[in-house]
């Protein structure tokens, strides 16, 4: 199949599309020199769709969503296009300053965000009710008691017991799972079109994780919002996502529907990751695969294909020299690898 370049038409923005990233690059200025945490990431999310973003720590998946939120650290600079269409016409978010009016009106309102650490992501000195009501008041106005009622309704929605009582509880009085539920209620305060979930279950134990995933799936179905779900865990992705983007060292190496990624992975990195998942009922004496080597440090990103230092199928003279183009093995799946396209 001939290589098809990733969609590069800047004006192309189909109506079902909610969020669209094009060639997003983020660089941090540090004392030891610039760090290119994200280099040319493109992905999109359609309305009501769950996109799973998978990658190891340091792959730039969290930095990418902070660029969407325009909440990058002060020493970061970014290029590329970010477009977001919560209600019809797409808005261009890239280039918006951190404290801009547009961003403030979107954050917490049209885009909700949940974080990894439910322990510390809520203010320790304000009650859950106050924190949610403040967000409601900020974006919707109205009376304090109305905002409080809305908060109680949200707490009920995330299935916290005794929502009326929960309003006056403080984060330190809740368990990790309950805090994450409260966090979700906060993110949903104004019925966002997009929910960004940055490793929301990583800090939780397995049972709680399953419950939170259940909850998110249910809420997504009821409210019809889109979710960008960031995780390093393929199992979680299989559970919740419609489509998957796999990231490695600041690049998206493969995107596709959940089935394509799991049953017909195109990129050696995706294959390797899938191979390293332990499975029940797998053949006995089947050794769990590992990926050789370590993730290169962000100051020294390899030339050519960033994965070539660890790839089992590396072709010297090709993979370590030229950056691979994008191939599309089947509609909706895109792989950034020299080998998948059959090129030599």
């Amino acid at each position: 199949m001939p290589p098809i370049p990733m969609a590069n038409d800047m004006t192309n923005f189909p109506p079902e599309r909610l969020l669209d990233l094009r060639d997003l690059a983020v660089t941090f200025a540090t004392a030891e020199g610039p760090v290119r945490a994200v280099q040319g990431v493109s992905y999109h999310v359609n309305r009501g769709e769950v996109l799973g973003v998978v990658g190891e720590s340091g792959s730039g998946k969290s930095v990418t969503v902070r660029a969407i939120m325009r909440l990058l650290a002060r020493n970061a600079t970014d290029t590329g296009t970010i477009r977001f269409a919560p209600d019809g016409e797409p808005l261009t978010l890239s280039g918006q300053p951190r404290d801009s009016k547009l961003m403030r009106s979107l954050r917490g309102n049209r885009i909700g965000m949940i974080f990894q650490e439910p322990m510390t992501a809520l203010s320790p000195v304000h009650s859950i009710g106050t924190q949610i009501a403040r967000t409601v008041l900020l974006h919707r106005g109205g009376s304090k008691s109305a905002a409080r009622d809305r908060a109680a309704e949200l707490l009920a929605r995330v299935q916290l017991p005794n929502p009326g009582e929960m309003l006056d509880r403080y984060p330190h009085q809740l368990s990790g799972g309950m805090r994450q539920r409260a966090m979700i209620a906060l993110a949903l305060a104004c019925d966002p079109a997009l929910l960004i979930a940055d490793e929301p279950t990583t800090a939780l134990d397995v049972t709680t994780e399953a419950q939170i995933l259940d909850l998110l799936r249910g809420l997504q179905k009821d409210l019809g919002m889109a979710i960008v779900f960031i995780t390093h865990n393929f199992g979680v992705v299989a559970d919740i996502a419609d489509r998957v983007a796999v990231m490695y060292l600041g690049q998206v190496v493969e995107t596709g529907s959940v089935d394509d990624i799991f049953y017909a992975p195109g990129h050696p990195y995706t294959k390797a990751l899938l191979g390293s998942i332990p499975r029940l009922g797998a053949a006995k004496r089947h050794r769990l695969q590992t990926i050789q080597g370590m993730v290169p440090d962000p100051y020294h990103i390899p030339k050519g294909c960033p994965f070539h230092t660890r790839c089992d199928h590396v072709r010297p003279g090709l993979c370590d020299v030229t950056a691979p183009p994008v191939f599309s093995p089947r509609p909706g799946q895109e792989v950034r690898c020299h080998l998948t396209g059959g090129a030599a």
Partner: protein, 328 residues
């Protein structure tokens, strides 16, 4: 909440008893007593007392009784009649001596405290949110220098500058000619001309330390995830900073705010001595130097009572402001 206040208050009672006894013991500690110091002073003036006279004086003052008995007599009078005893040196009731100077002391220390807090907290917050900016560097240097310069040295330097370069009459609360004059605009202006040095000195040294603490607390808090959560809700930077991290960063402060109480009462002793201010500090110094037992004892007792009450106040305030303390 009520339970916390109650238990804390109950705790304060034994502490106060111990503290009052220790105050009394401390003033008994030095070998010799007021009579010794008094005799020494007379001798310096060229007068001599016979041993019998000295002994009579001791008995007069009740200095020969056992210490527990002396303590009991002292504390009952204070509790029942508010009578702190008689100053040997000034030959006046201790309470009236302290009372005379308390007004000015409280006024000066309150003004400088308000100045300190009013300056230090906003600057500390600003400096933390703009880390490594020019303002931050200036503030950091100011913090260090303020920590390095002892208050009395700053007072001396300001006095010297005011006296030698600005031709001002410095030291004391007002120029001598206004001492007995009735209040007038001229007198008020004169007082203002004198009072700026102690306020600048006290506010500077206080603010320097406070800014450092506030900045460090804020830097700790600004890095925490809940701040990012607040930004992700769409609040502006000012709303985020003042509603979230400042609230948390203030807690260590609130836990020490009660300590201001004893400090308000004693004022800054050294600055007051250097500047010759009629506050309580120099009186305490004098009392300690002269071993003026009841005056010094009264002082130390009030000071420690204020300390206990201040700590109590802090605890209650902290419980009120920090749910993690209140609800365990």
């Amino acid at each position: 909440m009520l339970r916390i206040i109650l238990t804390r208050c109950l705790w304060a009672i034994p502490t106060l008893i111990v503290v009052s006894f220790i105050s009394f013991v401390i003033i008994q500690l030095p070998p010799g007593d007021y009579v010794t110091a008094y005799v020494a002073e007379l001798r310096r003036g060229g007068e001599y007392l016979t041993d019998t006279q000295v002994e009579l004086m001791r008995q007069d003052f009740g200095l020969r009784d056992p210490i527990l008995w002396q303590y009991a007599r002292w504390i009952t009078k204070i509790l029942l009649h508010g009578d702190f005893g008689q100053s040997f040196h000034y030959n006046a009731p201790v309470s009236s001596l302290i009372w005379d100077r308390l007004g000015l002391t409280l006024l000066l220390s309150t003004i400088s405290l308000v100045f300190t807090w009013g300056i230090a907290i906003p600057i500390g917050v600003y400096s933390a949110t703009r880390q490594y900016s020019v303002v931050d560097y200036v503030v950091t240097i100011f913090g260090f220098v303020g920590k390095g310069i002892p208050e009395f040295l700053l007072a001396l330097i300001l006095m010297w500058v005011g006296f030698s370069w600005l031709n001002m009459d410095v030291g004391g609360l007002m120029s001598p000619e206004f001492d007995t004059a009735p209040w007038s605009i001229a007198k008020a202006l004169n007082v203002l001309e004198h009072v700026w040095i102690p306020i600048v000195v006290l506010a500077t040294s206080g603010a320097a330390g406070l800014i450092r603490v506030m900045r460090a607390n804020m830097l700790d808090e600004l890095g925490k995830p809940y701040v990012e959560t607040a930004y992700a809700q769409g609040f502006s930077e000012r709303q985020v900073v003042w509603n979230y991290p400042v609230r948390v960063a203030l807690n260590p402060f609130i836990s020490t705010v009660g300590w201001a109480l004893p400090a308000l009462f004693s004022g800054d002793v050294i600055t007051a001595v250097v500047l010759n201010l009629p506050t309580t500090g120099p009186l305490l110094l004098q009392a300690l130097k002269m071993q003026d037992m009841y005056l010094a004892g009264g002082f130390i007792l009030i000071l420690s009572t204020f300390t206990v009450v201040g700590t109590l106040l802090s605890d209650i305030l902290l419980a009120w402001s920090d749910p993690r303390v209140r609800l365990g």
